[in-house]
């Protein structure tokens, strides 16, 4: 036996997860707060679970017919159906025409991974993905590993302190034809209706492939149907696209039933060699709730309650800052929707909060409002006030670049050769691995 390890040359990989959380956990200050959690928290500092979820879980487990038989490769059919219906509405033309389907995956990551793999193998076009800055940490690596190059955009205007989704037109106009556009939280876009039509035309003209990322349905307005209006419009406009429902459903909207079946069958192959079939419990809870009108109503109510509480928190923070006479405008705190929002402070002020006040905020200034509760709101607002007064207004922020090209330095050992920039239209995709060819 050689005394040398076969792993001798394996380098140590630096941690990929947020350093912010690690620092927060190691901090011993009693006042420490983390505003960067990716989870919806309650006032008692625990993750929010709708009471109907807890009850349903318990009831499922006590059900004598409950067993653990393998799900099919694409997962629990009933779950896919209810999740898709939640997204596009039960009467969606795509459902009527049977050209919408899904694959039940391992959360949002699994859905993005499946979609990305499929696009890598079957989408003819430049290997370019446009994604929002906040999505990069989670999904950027997946695309990069598969040989895509990333272009990062943001709607947040740190000068005017406003989220301008109109920028999307500019971004799409300048994107190479047939690029892939990862759109986060489509529902929260404050676009007037006639702009939807214009956007739809623009996307069609440039043949941009839409990959929607839907993290928290209902968290913007309190009503999932309301949140998904723009998405549903696009479904009626005949787009083919993917939706990542972060509960773990990759929704495929195709042009026809036949196309859907072909796409689904290929996605099944990827899942077969990755996780076999998805885990069942969570999907069963969701299916039970969404299929039962009473439970569904109860869930929607609790969701609305949570969203109202977030809106209230925003108001309170804004009010407290106003009362403290903190310099600057804080309108943007209530001007943004959903669980997250940009704080609108400078990098130096942010640094002050992290290092001096033990308030942990990610570098991009995006905070999770559910991490603010009655116990820490005063400390937080006073600290923000302190930071702004201590540091003063920063230098006039420059207009941020419209699109940031991200160098692909994550993994130099990519299999795919197409890591460099735009390829011209009609470029041939790399040869397909043998196992993807279906047997005639």
């Amino acid at each position: 036996m050689p005394t040398l390890s076969v792993f001798l040359d394996v380098p140590f990989a630096p941690k990929t997860t947020s350093k912010l959380l690690d620092d927060f956990q190691q901090d011993e200050d009693p006042n420490k707060v983390c505003l960067g959690y990716g989870v919806c928290m309650t006032g008692e500092k625990i993750p929010w679970l709708s009471p109907v979820v807890i009850r349903t879980l318990r009831r499922l487990i006590h059900d004598p017919s409950f067993n653990y038989s393998y799900l099919p490769e694409h997962g629990l059919e009933a779950f896919i159906r209810v999740a898709t219906e939640l997204l596009v509405g039960r009467h969606s033309p795509a459902i009527v025409e049977n050209r919408i389907g899904g694959v039940h995956t391992i959360g949002g990551n699994g859905a993005i991974l499946l979609g990305a793999k499929f696009l890598k193998d079957w989408h003819r076009g430049p290997r370019v993905v446009y994604l929002q800055q906040s999505q990069r940490e989670q999904y950027g690596l997946i695309f990069q590993e598969l040989g895509f190059s990333l272009r990062e955009y943001t709607f947040w205007d740190s000068y005017r302190l406003v989220s301008d989704t109109g920028k999307l037109f500019d971004i799409v106009e300048h994107a190479p034809d047939r690029s892939i556009l990862l759109l986060y939280n489509f529902g929260s876009f404050l676009l007037p209706r006639k702009r939807w039509y214009k956007l739809s035309k623009l996307l069609k003209r440039k043949q941009i492939f839409l990959f929607c990322d839907i993290p928290d349905q209902g968290f913007v307005s309190g009503d999932p149907d309301q949140d998904n209006k723009i998405l549903r419009y696009f479904v009626t406009q005949g787009f083919e696209f993917f939706c990542n429902e972060r509960v773990g459903n990759l929704v495929v909207v195709a042009v026809s039933n036949k196309s859907l079946l072909c796409i689904r069958s290929q996605l099944d192959i990827y899942t077969r060699y990755m996780w076999g079939s998805p885990p069942a419990l969570g999907s069963r809870v969701i299916t039970t709730i969404l299929s039962n009108p009473a439970l569904r109503m109860e869930w929607k109510k609790s969701l609305r309650g949570m969203v109202e509480s977030i809106m209230l928190t925003r108001e309170k923070v804004k009010e407290k800052l106003r009362l403290l006479r903190t310099p600057g405008s804080w309108e943007h705190l209530t001007g943004q929707d959903g669980m997250y929002g940009f704080l609108g402070i400078t990098v130096e002020q942010l640094d002050y909060l992290v290092t001096k006040k033990h308030i942990y905020i990610p570098m991009n200034g995006l905070i999770n409002f559910t991490c603010i509760n009655s116990q820490n709101i005063d400390y937080i607002t006073q600290s923000i006030n302190e930071a702004v007064l201590a540091i003063g207004p920063g230098p006039q922020p420059k207009e941020p670049p419209k699109v940031l090209v991200i160098p692909n330095n994550s993994d130099p050992k990519n299999l795919d050769h197409m890591t460099s920039e735009t390829k011209s239209l009609g470029a041939k995709a790399s040869p397909l691995p043998a196992y993807l060819h279906s047997k005639k």
Partner: protein, 465 residues
């Protein structure tokens, strides 16, 4: 589904639209509250009604892939109206009533966990639930393993055995035998579980070969062929070994045969990648079933062991698996795990908690652990009984051929030795579903269908060549 014609706006109103208005159909349709075009179908239905070409798909050359054979078999079985039908295809445990079985200890723990208010559904760490990982690896390697004492093991929670294999394969493709060396040969047994090929192929390996394993003539292990393949394999090749209860043949090397295998692998610097999906299920004894893995560890090998808790905990659909890594020393293992964390991040990011919690709770409590071992033995014993019963019936019927392999083979499956024609006969004429290879799942047998299956096999063997 409603008739599309009746749902469209009536013809006259459509014809009223001038050409230019057709180009901007949105203005003319009411957009209802849900944002859909007027009537189901919207623009698309209009286009169809007017005979306009449908927009073509950018995915028009995506072919429909074939479904997996085993799943198709089960689907056919489900649709078969014949009351005598028997499913001997899929690899999951069934009770004597032909039902899936939730292990009593699992149900107990499940209820316990549901009552525990302090448990929440926050994300697990990327590498998984720590208590699960430690307990899972200890079960495979044994508490007194030198590797554990010397702190040179690592574990990664994965999505079932499939996920564990995939993580291991992804790592090896990137970092083993060079960097991103996709040409390192990967050897799988002939035959093996089909997914082995798929997983290693999907991970990027381009040279997947077979090693001799099943000797159809003598219905046993082809040790000579196996050892020869290992002698001829390029150094540092990866060998996928079944820890016990080989799928599909049910034929395992004896301890003496394992010793010979290990000796050749050591000399040729071949990498052992164990697939352990049936620990406890094969003989009813956890330690006995782990003998091969532990022997290799004692011999100083660095190895991977992909573990599945689908069968021995009956937790199939919660996807509970673990990849155990054994290295030369702690530092190597640390570096390996750090790279595996990166890989997990771009696969599923965080593993599911439920199944892992059940396993961890069970393995770390002495009473629950004992109860679990009894549950596992229950399953193993029923399988042994079915083996004995089937063999004795075939021998009593005087079915041509020898049938001792049915009781000599181990685990859930038996390689009956039936030809493809005989298998077809069984499926089409007798509504008994099994794989074309002749593999049957012993769990599909019950006291109620044993006679029917035995006489059917007898018929198939005597009537069909």
């Amino acid at each position: 589904m409603a008739d599309r014609e009746s749902l469209l706006p009536a013809r006259p109103s459509v014809q009223r639209l001038g050409r230019d208005r057709l180009l901007s159909p949105v203005k003319d349709f009411r957009i209802d509250a849900l944002g859909a075009g007027a009537g189901p179908g919207g623009v698309r239905a209009l286009a169809a009604a007017l005979g306009l070409a449908m927009p073509s798909s950018i995915f028009s050359d995506v072919p429909q892939a074939q479904p997996v054979l085993v799943f198709k078999l089960t689907a056919d079985f489900r649709e078969d109206p014949d009351p005598r039908k028997v499913n001997l295809g899929v690899g999951a445990y069934r009770t004597d009533e032909g039902q899936p079985w939730v292990l009593p200890v699992v149900r107990k723990v499940e209820l316990q966990l549901a009552k525990n208010d302090s448990l929440n559904h926050e994300y697990l760490p990327i590498l998984g639930l720590p208590e699960f990982r430690t307990n899972a690896s200890h079960i495979a390697l044994g508490e007194d393993s030198p590797a554990i004492k010397e702190k040179r093991i690592g574990s990664v929670q994965a999505l079932g055995g499939t996920g564990a294999l995939r993580i291991g394969a992804e790592f090896l493709r990137r970092w083993y035998n060079g960097t991103n060396n996709v040409s390192t040969p990967v050897y799988v047994s002939a035959p093996t579980w089909e997914n082995h090929n798929g997983v290693f192929g999907a991970a990027g390996f381009v040279d997947i070969r077979t090693y001799h394993y099943w000797d159809a003539a003598k219905r046993g292990l082809d040790l000579k062929g196996l050892l020869q393949d290992m002698e001829n394999a390029p150094e540092f090749s990866i060998f996928v070994l079944h820890a016990c209860a080989h799928n599909p043949t049910g034929t395992d090397p004896t301890p003496e045969q394992w010793e010979k295998i290990a000796s050749v692998m050591k000399r040729r610097f071949l990498f052992p990648f164990f697939d352990s999906a049936y620990q406890g299920f094969a003989s009813g004894d956890l330690d006995k079933d782990a003998w091969a893995v532990r022997y290799f560890v004692n011999e100083g090998f660095e190895l991977f062991c992909a573990q599945s808790f689908s069968k021995n905990f009956g937790l199939y659909n919660e996807r509970v698996g673990n990849l155990t890594v054994v290295g030369k020393d702690a530092d190597n293992v640390l570096r390996v795990l750090s790279q595996m964390e990166k890989i997990v991040r771009v696969l599923w990011s965080n593993p599911p908690a439920q199944g892992a919690r059940i396993v961890a709770t069970t393995l770390s409590s002495p009473e629950l652990f004992t109860e679990w071992k009894e549950n596992v033995k229950t399953m193993a014993d029923r399988i042994l009984l079915m083996r004995a019963e089937l063999r004795s019936r075939l021998e009593a019927l005087g079915t041509p051929g020898t049938w001792n392999h049915i009781t000599e083979q181990i685990g859930m499956f038996s390689f009956t030795g039936l030809t493809t024609k005989q298998v077809e006969y069984l499926i089409n004429e007798k509504h008994i579903y099994l794989l074309p290879s002749g593999r049957i799942n012993m769990c599909g047998l019950t006291t109620k269908n044993l006679d029917y299956v035995a006489t059917s096999i007898h018929e198939a063997v005597t009537k069909v060549q």
